[in-house]
C-alpha cells in the first residue's frame, strides 16, 4: 500500500510517497537518489547503511520508510555545512581512515551518533560503540584515531 510521509531529509522538509513494505535504505538510494548510504548486507550486520534519525544511528536496511514520519533524517551527504566538512569527516580525511571508502559513510554517521551520546568517549567506549560496523579493508585503527581526534575538535559543541 502506498502512503505519503513527511519528514526532514538532510535539513529540508520532504514529502514522499512510499510503499509500506519499503525500507528506508532503498527509499534514500532510489526515490531520494542519495547514494552515499550503502547496501552491504541487508540484515543489519555491517552498518554501511547507517543514517541518523533524530540523532540516533539507524540501520536503514532494517527500518521501514514510514518510521521516519515527522522525524529528522541526516545522511552522509547532509553532514557538511556550507560545504565545510563535519569535524568527523575532516578527521577521517586527515587520518586517512578509509581505503575503498564503502564502509566510510556508515562509519562516520555512526561515530557522530556515538559522539552525540558521549562527546568524550574513551578508546574502549569508541570500540564498543563502533563494534557493529564492519570494514573489510581494515581501517579500524585509523578510524579510532580519527574519532578520538574529532571528539577533541568538537569540544564546546559547535557541531553537536
Amino acid at each position: 500500500m502506498k502512503k505519503t510521509i513527511q519528514f526532514t531529509f538532510n535539513n529540508k522538509p520532504t514529502t514522499l510517497e512510499v510503499e509500506d513494505n519499503q525500507t528506508l535504505l532503498w527509499v534514500i538510494r532510489t526515490s531520494l537518489n542519495m547514494t552515499g548510504t550503502k547496501y552491504g548486507c541487508g540484515f543489519g550486520h555491517c552498518g554501511s547503511c547507517t543514517v541518523l534519525v533524530d540523532k540516533e544511528p539507524t540501520r536503514t536496511c532494517l527500518t521501514m520508510a514510514d518510521f521516519v514520519e515527522g522525524k529528522n533524517v541526516l545522511t552522509i551527504e547532509g553532514l557538511a555545512r556550507n560545504g565545510e566538512l563535519h569535524p568527523v569527516q575532516k578527521a577521517f580525511v586527515e587520518h586517512d581512515a578509509l581505503q575503498c571508502g564503502f564502509c566510510t559513510p556508515g562509519m562516520i554517521v555512526n561515530a557522530i551518533g556515538l559522539l552525540y551520546r558521549n562527546p568524550e568517549p574513551t578508546r574502549q567506549e569508541i570500540i564498543d560503540g563502533m563494534h557493529e560496523n564492519l570494514c573489510r579493508c581494515g581501517s579500524y585503527g585509523r578510524i579510532l584515531d580519527a574519532i578520538q581526534s574529532a571528539s577533541k575538535e568538537m569540544k564546546g559543541g559547535k557541531w553537536l
Binding site: 550503502k38 540484515f43 557538511a80 586527515e94 575503498c100 571508502g101 564503502f102 564492519l134
Partner: protein, 711 residues
C-alpha cells in the same frame, strides 16, 4: 620548432599508419600534449599484459597535458582502496614536475585508458609506474623544448618545477605549462632520451600525502557501480539455485502475476525479474517457484580435507635440492605434521554490482571489476559483440582483494540488458556474494623437517595440496629439500580463485607453524632458529628489523608471553611479522595485542600508503587467522551473511606497527598484498607461546584451542 613540424615528426616516427580508429581515439582525447606508446615495443608491461599482440597493446595514451595546464593521467588500473589513485598520481607529478593537485586520474575506462590486464598481484607499482615515468619524463622534455622556443633561450638553460618552466639563472623568466600547451596538439612517443629522476631528486615520491579520493569518499559522493542512475533503469534479480551444479527442472511464475510493474524473463536456467525498485524485484523473485535437481554431496567443510588428500593426485615438484634420505639420516630430530585451511571468502563490503545499457548495438557498463579490459573481452566473446562496442566506464570499487577479478555479475547484467533492451542494474545480495564468490581454496599441507644437534636444518619436505606455490621458494638454508604441489582440475564444489596474495597465506601459515614446532623441539628460540637457518640475506635483515622494532627477547616456547613470529615472501617483498596475543585458557578466546610488521619492498613510493596497506592486510588477515570459514555441503554454501562469517572487527584489531627497510635505490615491489601472508603463522605461533596449544588449522578458533589444550 613549429607545432606542425612536431606533429609531422611524430607521424613519421610512428611505425604503422594510423587506422581510423586511432585518429578517432586521438580526436576523443582533444588538444594538449599527449604521450603515447606501444607496450609491445617497450616490453615493460609484458608482465601484466597477457602478451597478446595486435591493436590492444599497440597504442596507448598515458598522459595528456591539457590547455589549462592540468594533467590527465590515463591508466587501466582501478581504485579499490589500495591507493593507486594517489600513488600513480604521485609518480606522474614527480616526473612531470607538476603539483599533485593538478593531476586528474582517468582510470579503467576501456575507451581511453591503456590496455591493462587487471589490478591484482601487487603489480601496479612494479609494472605500471616505470612506463608512466618514462611518459612523464618525455612530456617534461617536450615542455622544456616548447619553453625554449617561447623564451628564446637554449633548452639546456631551463628547468621545470611545479608546472612552470624557468631559466635556471633567472627564475623570474618563466612560462607555465598552460601557456605552452594552449592551442596545441602534440602527440609523442617516449624517445628514451628524456632524463628520469634519480631517487635523490624526488620531491613527491616517498612523501606522505593524503589520498586524493578521501574527500569525495567522506562526503558520500564517490560513485560506485550501484550508484549509477540511468533514465528508465530497472533493477534486476536473478533466481538462484540452492546449490552449485544444480539443473532447473521446472519454473512457476504464476505467483507474481498481478504484481505491479514486475516483468519476468527466462532463458533456459537463467530466470530473472525486473522492476523500478530493487526491493520489489527482490520480493518478486522470492515468489517465483523453481525446482532444481541438486548434485549429490561428495564433501562438506568437515570432510573436505580427506577429500582433497584423496583427490588431488596431480603432483608436481616445485623446488628440489640434495637428497631427502640423506637429510633425514643426518637429523637429530624429525618433525612431521599436517596443516589445514578451509575456504575463505573475499567478503568485500560492496557486493558484485554492474549497471549496463545496451543501445544502438553498443554496451556501456559500470561494473565493480578489477579487470575492466578482461570484462570487456568476456562480454564481447559471450555475446558476439565487437570489442569496440563494449565500453567499461570508470568507477570506484568497494574492495576487491582478488574477488573482483571474476565478473559473473557483469556477464549477467550484460545478458539482461541485451535481452530486455533496457538499462539495468544488478546488485548481488550478500547471500549471492557468498554463494558466487571465487573462494580462497581449502588446502592441506604436509610438512616434514629434520634438524641436527647444532640446530641446523638438514631436511625439508613440503607437499602442498590445492594452495599453489606462490612465495614458496625456500628462503631457509636446507641442503636436502623438496616442495611439491598437488592439485586436481575441477576438484572443488564451487569456484575458487585469487584471494589477496593467492595461496600464500595458507602455505606461509603451515611452513611457519612447522618451523616453530621444529625450533621448539630443538629447544631453540624461534627467531634465533630462523636466523641460524637463513639463506636469503634480505629476509634476514627484515627479520632483524622486526625483532628490533618489537623488542624481541629470546626464549623457548611456550614462554607464556604470547609472542610469535612468521616470515614470508610475496610479490617481490620480504615480510616478517611478530605478533603478541592474550589467550583466555577457559574460553579459548584470543585477543591480539600488538603486531609488528617489517617489510623489505625495495623503494617505497608512498610510505604512508604502504603503511595503510600493511595495516589493512594485517587486519584482514586476522579474520582468516581467527574466525573466517565458509560452511558448506558440497555445492550448497551455507554461509550467507556476516553473522555467520566473522571478519575482523574493531575489538579484534591490535596495535599495528609497520616498518620498512629503507632502500630507495632498489626497484619498488608489491605492497598491497604481502603483509597478510604472515598473519596466520604469527598468530598460531603466538597462541602456542601463550598457552601451549598448537592448532594446525586456520581459523584458530576457541574450540580448536580448547581441544588442543586438552591433549
Amino acid at each position: 620548432m613549429k607545432e606542425a613540424r612536431i606533429n609531422e615528426l611524430y607521424f613519421r616516427d610512428f611505425d604503422k599508419p594510423l587506422s581510423r580508429d586511432r585518429r578517432d581515439f586521438l580526436k576523443k582525447l582533444g588538444n594538449g600534449i599527449i604521450i603515447i606508446f606501444s607496450i609491445g615495443e617497450l616490453g615493460i608491461l609484458n608482465g601484466c599484459s597477457f602478451g597478446k599482440g595486435g591493436e590492444e597493446d599497440d597504442f596507448n595514451a598515458y598522459l595528456r597535458i591539457k590547455e589549462d595546464g592540468r594533467v590527465d593521467c590515463f591508466t587501466g588500473k582501478i581504485e579499490m582502496g589500495q591507493g593507486v589513485i594517489t600513488s600513480i598520481a604521485q609518480v606522474l607529478a614527480e616526473e612531470l614536475d607538476v603539483p599533485l593537485s593538478q593531476v586528474d586520474m582517468i582510470m579503467g575506462d576501456t575507451e581511453i585508458c591503456p590496455y591493462d590486464a587487471g589490478t591484482w598481484g601487487s603489480m601496479t607499482t612494479r609494472f605500471f609506474d616505470p612506463v608512466l615515468r618514462a611518459a612523464a619524463a618525455e612530456a617534461r622534455m617536450v615542455l622544456i623544448e616548447l619553453a625554449a622556443e617561447h623564451l628564446k633561450v637554449d633548452k639546456e638553460q631551463l628547468k621545470a618545477a611545479e608546472g612552470v618552466v624557468f631559466l635556471t639563472s633567472d627564475p623570474k623568466k618563466k612560462v607555465d605549462y598552460a601557456t605552452l600547451t594552449k592551442g596545441k596538439k602534440i602527440v609523442r612517443k617516449p624517445s628514451g632520451e628524456a632524463h628520469q629522476k634519480t631517487p635523490d631528486e624526488f620531491r613527491i615520491i616517498g612523501k606522505p600525502v593524503i589520498s586524493l579520493d578521501a574527500e569525495i569518499k567522506v562526503r558520500g559522493v564517490a560513485k560506485y557501480s550501484g550508484d549509477i542512475r540511468l533514465p528508465g533503469m530497472k533493477y534486476a534479480r536473478i533466481k538462484r539455485p540452492p546449490s552449485h551444479g544444480s539443473k532447473l527442472v521446472s519454473m512457476d511464475g504464476s505467483a507474481i502475476e498481478g504484481m505491479e510493474g514486475v516483468e519476468l524473463f527466462q532463458d533456459g536456467d537463467f530466470i530473472f525479474v525486473l522492476h523500478d525498485n530493487p526491493e520489489n524485484a527482490g520480493q518478486a523473485i522470492a515468489r517465483v517457484k523453481a525446482e532444481w535437481e541438486v548434485p549429490e554431496s561428495k564433501a562438506n567443510d568437515q570432510t573436505i580435507f580427506d577429500y582433497i588428500k584423496k583427490t588431488a593426485t596431480d603432483a608436481e615438484v616445485f623446488e628440489e635440492g640434495g637428497n631427502l634420505e640423506t637429510g633425514r639420516s643426518q637429523a637429530d630430530v624429525v618433525v612431521e605434521e599436517e596443516y589445514f585451511d578451509g575456504y575463505k571468502a573475499h567478503a568485500s563490503i560492496e557486493t558484485h554490482t554492474a549497471t549496463a545499457e545496451f543501445k544502438d548495438g553498443k554496451l556501456t557498463m559500470w561494473a565493480s571489476s578489477q579487470t575492466p579490459f578482461g570484462t570487456r573481452q568476456a562480454i564481447s566473446d559471450t555475446f558476439k559483440i565487437p570489442l569496440d562496442k563494449v565500453h567499461m566506464k570508470q568507477i570506484f570499487l568497494g574492495g576487491g582483494f582478488g574477488g573482483k577479478i571474476y565478473n559473473q555479475q557483469a556477464i549477467e547484467a550484460a545478458r539482461i540488458a541485451i535481452m530486455t533492451q533496457k538499462p539495468v542494474q544488478l546488485i548481488w545480495t550478500r547471500q549471492e556474494e557468498f554463494m558466487y564468490d571465487m573462494f580462497r581454496s581449502a588446502a592441506v599441507m604436509k610438512a616434514m623437517s629434520g634438524v641436527d644437534k647444532n640446530g641446523k636444518m638438514t631436511m625439508w619436505e613440503y607437499d602442498i595440496y590445492c594452495a599453489g606455490s606462490r612465495g614458496c621458494n625456500l628462503f631457509y638454508e636446507v641442503p636436502n629439500n623438496r616442495t611439491r604441489t598437488l592439485n586436481k582440475e575441477g576438484l572443488h564444489p564451487f569456484g575458487t580463485g585469487a584471494w589477496r596474495a593467492p595461496g600464500n597465506s595458507t602455505t606461509t601459515f603451515a611452513r611457519e607453524s612447522h618451523i616453530d614446532i621444529t625450533a621448539h623441539r630443538a629447544g631453540i628460540d624461534p627467531v634465533e632458529f630462523r636466523l641460524n637457518n637463513m639463506k636469503e640475506p634480505r629476509m634476514k635483515r627484515t627479520l632483524e628489523l622486526a625483532a628490533k622494532t618489537f623488542g624481541w627477547e629470546p626464549g623457548v616456547t611456550p614462554s607464556g608471553r604470547g609472542v610469535g613470529v612468521a616470515l614470508g615472501f610475496d610479490a617481490g617483498t620480504y615480510v616478517a611479522i611478530i605478533a603478541q596475543v592474550e589467550v583466555d585458557k577457559n574460553t579459548g578466546k584470543v585477543q591480539p595485542v600488538r603486531i609488528v610488521c617489517a617489510q623489505d619492498m625495495g623503494q617505497v613510493v608512498n610510505p604512508h600508503g604502504a603503511a595503510i596497506q600493511t595495516e589493512g592486510g594485517i587486519t584482514m588477515g586476522l579474520g582468516y587467522a581467527l574466525s573466517e570459514d565458509v560452511v558448506f555441503d558440497w555445492g550448497k554454501v551455507n554461509t550467507s551473511n556476516f553473522d555467520d562469517y566473522e571478519i575482523t572487527r574493531f575489538a579484534t584489531t591490535p596495535v599495528i606497527e609497520a616498518v620498512f627497510i629503507d632502500d630507495m635505490n632498489s626497484a619498488p615491489q608489491g605492497g598491497g598484498e604481502p603483509a597478510i601472508i604472515c598473519v596466520g603463522g604469527a598468530i598460531a605461533n603466538a597462541v602456542f607461546d601463550a598457552c601451549g596449544a598448537r592448532v594446525f588449522q586456520v581459523p584458530i578458533t576457541p574450540e580448536r584451542i580448547l581441544a588442543a589444550l586438552e591433549i
